[in-house]
């Protein structure tokens, strides 16, 4: 498997309920890859096969380690794969305390050198579960249980962390309480994370790479921003369509309390003091917050008016709204954004691929 040592390769084919699963995709060895799709699309089955909990013909290769290759008769059993797995429900061992739960995998992981981020204290600190160690799992809230489950998985010193809809059993408030911890994981851990979800909001906040699934097939896979602005994919037509852009803090306007982020092809202004110069944050631009003008508007309350070029226009002739992808920058080579405008405006401004425009962005949200 030389030459592809820095990636994860997964292929599976087999029956799955009423249809068949047939997938073949690659993921980077870094960051969070979201397996995204509707319920029953096969994403959980894929994750279970990665863990060896389920077996379908195919292969699963992580860097230089082959954990399954049906063609060569290789199948490493679950307990021999250095994985961490977080289930939908926390599934803590009820007969053990929180500390014993955390130590369950750690004790069995052998003496692999634990770096600081993966030490017991490091993990407990990262997840904020220090005050829970001597409690019984029954005495924890749903959010606390899931954090302990994540810690337990990490303490088994995995090469890869697999998370199966870890937030879907929790209410909105608890989700908001946990997401920051997941973002910290993302920032401080080098290991790849595969994150199964059907919530595009979680994808937007956490994922770097996305594998889009439907009915047991891979519809598309690649960097998140690319997939979000691909007019051939359903994401752009979804009601909550949005684009994530990585921005670097460029300057802070102390008088008006505004932060300027440098993004490919322009500068975006976000209210508030959002960190020191050079800090990288993830910005979210909703398609419904973007509008266009042909000339630079000077008398507008909208702060972000950036030169851009239309990349694509998609919509049905009898519908009110169309989806537009535009690239920031006068040359149209910057970050891509998605916009939803009416067909009437499209015709009034005669927008077409290549048209130079000014993108007015009503609001830019920081997602992390």
């Amino acid at each position: 498997m030389s030459g592809h040592a820095r990636e994860i390769s997964m292929a599976l084919a087999g029956p799955l309920g009423s249809f068949s699963l047939d997938v073949d995709f690659k993921m980077p060895m870094r960051g969070i890859t979201a397996l995204f799709g509707p319920s029953g699309c096969g994403k959980t089955t894929i994750l279970r096969c990665m863990a060896g909990l389920q077996r379908l013909p195919g292969h699963f290769i992580v860097g230089e380690e082959t954990w399954q290759d049906s063609a060569r008769g290789i199948f490493v059993r679950t307990h021999q794969r250095p994985i961490g797995y977080v289930f939908q429900e926390a599934s803590l061992f009820q007969h053990l305390s929180v500390r014993q739960n955390l130590m369950f995998g750690a004790r069995r992981a052998g003496d692999a050198p634990a770096d600081d981020a993966l030490s017991f204290d490091g993990i407990v600190d990262l997840l904020g579960i220090g005050h829970l160690l001597d409690r019984s799992p029954a005495a924890l809230s749903g959010g606390e249980r899931q954090r302990v489950a994540v810690g337990r998985a990490l303490l088994s010193r995995p090469r890869i962390l697999l998370m199966d809809e870890p937030l879907s059993a929790l209410d909105r408030m608890t989700k908001e309480e946990i997401l920051p911890y997941f973002e910290r994981l993302h920032k401080s851990l080098a290991m790849p994370i595969v994150y199964v979800t059907h919530d595009i909001g979680e994808v937007a906040r956490l994922a770097d790479t996305m594998v889009l699934l439907d009915k047991g097939r891979v519809v598309a896979s690649g960097p998140l921003a690319e997939l979000q602005t691909d007019p051939s994919l359903p994401l752009i037509a979804a009601p909550e369509a949005a684009v994530m852009i990585e921005g670097r803090v460029d300057s802070i306007d102390e008088v008006y309390a505004l932060t300027s982020f440098a993004v490919p092809g322009g500068v975006l202004i976000v209210p508030g003091r959002q960190g020191a110069k050079g800090v990288v944050r993830r910005l979210r631009i909703a398609a419904s917050d973007v509008s266009f003008t042909r000339t630079a508007a000077t008398d507008t309350t909208i702060l972000n008016c950036l030169p851009a070029r239309v990349v694509s226009v998609d919509g049905h002739a009898n519908e009110a709204q169309v989806n537009i992808v535009a690239a920031l920058g006068g040359d149209g080579k910057g970050a891509r954004i998605a916009a939803r405008i009416t067909r009437k405006s499209l015709d009034a401004l005669t927008l077409a691929p290549g048209t130079p425009v000014f993108a007015q962005i009503k609001s830019v949200a920081l997602v992390k």
């Binding site: 863990a51 060896g52 909990l53 059993r77 679950t78 307990h79 021999q80 250095p82 994985i83 961490g84 797995y85 289930f87 429900e89 599934s91 061992f93 009820q94 007969h95 369950f104 995998g105 069995r108 992981a109 052998g110 029954a138 337990r152 998985a153 088994s156």
Partner: protein, 229 residues
């Protein structure tokens, strides 16, 4: 009216407790893997095995005793085994009683343990596997502790049921003091010979014992039922 002889009264009690103790230990040793297999196997014929295990619940003890007598007797496999150490038969011996009791009390031990193994489902076992625990390791560190209430009630029921056994023992054990004359047989004997005092002492003792056992099982069940979740 016989004279009250404490040694004579004590002998069947001691023998009964010995029998119940040995039987319960053997049942836990045999019943645990059997219950595990019944709870987890996907074999189609496993319900047939479960049925065989449960049959002593409905069969008249005399039927079980009759077949055991044939199996353990000089002309059955039990006789062959007994021949290995110079005996003639396993029937009418303590070993024979143990074999009979194990079969007779099997459902009372296997069923609660099987239920307990089934109650927690696959998830804890999958979690253990993702945390590097081998199947053997998982069985001891996860499955058995989680099924503890099942083991408790299985052991208590198996023990108590063996103590109350009569029909099977009468068929295969007979009435040899110190070897096969257990409590229930002794009570029967005392009644037959109109030794009412002795029968009263043993019978009342059994009533108290049964009450205590059932109460203990129910309290245990309640306690674990609450803290289980």
């Amino acid at each position: 009216m016989g004279e009250l002889n404490l040694a004579e009264l004590w002998s069947p009690i001691r023998l009964t407790i010995e029998l119940a103790f040995v039987t319960t230990i053997l049942l836990l040793v045999i019943g645990t893997p059997l219950a595990w297999w019944l709870a987890r196997s996907k074999a189609r014929w496993k319900e047939a095995v479960a049925t065989v295990v449960a049959m002593p619940l409905v069969l008249p003890p005399t039927v079980l005793g009759f077949y055991l007598l044939l199996l353990l007797g000089p002309n059955g496999p039990g006789g062959v085994i007994a021949g290995l150490y110079g005996a003639r038969t396993l029937a009418f011996t303590f070993s024979g009683l143990v074999i009979g009791s194990v079969l007779y009390s099997m459902p009372f031990v296997v069923q609660p343990i099987r239920n307990a193994f089934e109650a927690f489902g696959d998830r804890p076992l999958e979690v253990a596997a993702t945390l590097r625990a081998s199947p053997w390791d998982t069985f001891w560190s996860v499955a058995v502790p989680l099924a503890r209430p099942g083991f408790m009630s299985g052991a208590i029921l198996g023990f108590a049921h063996t103590i109350g056994e009569f029909g099977v023992i009468l068929m295969i054990g007979g009435n040899i003091p110190g070897q096969t004359k257990v409590l229930s047989v002794a009570i029967y004997d005392y009644v037959e010979t109109q030794q009412w005092t002795q029968a009263h002492i043993l019978s009342a003792g059994m009533v108290v014992f049964s009450f205590a056992v059932i109460l203990a099982t129910m309290t245990l069940g309640k306690r674990f039922g609450q803290s289980g979740r």
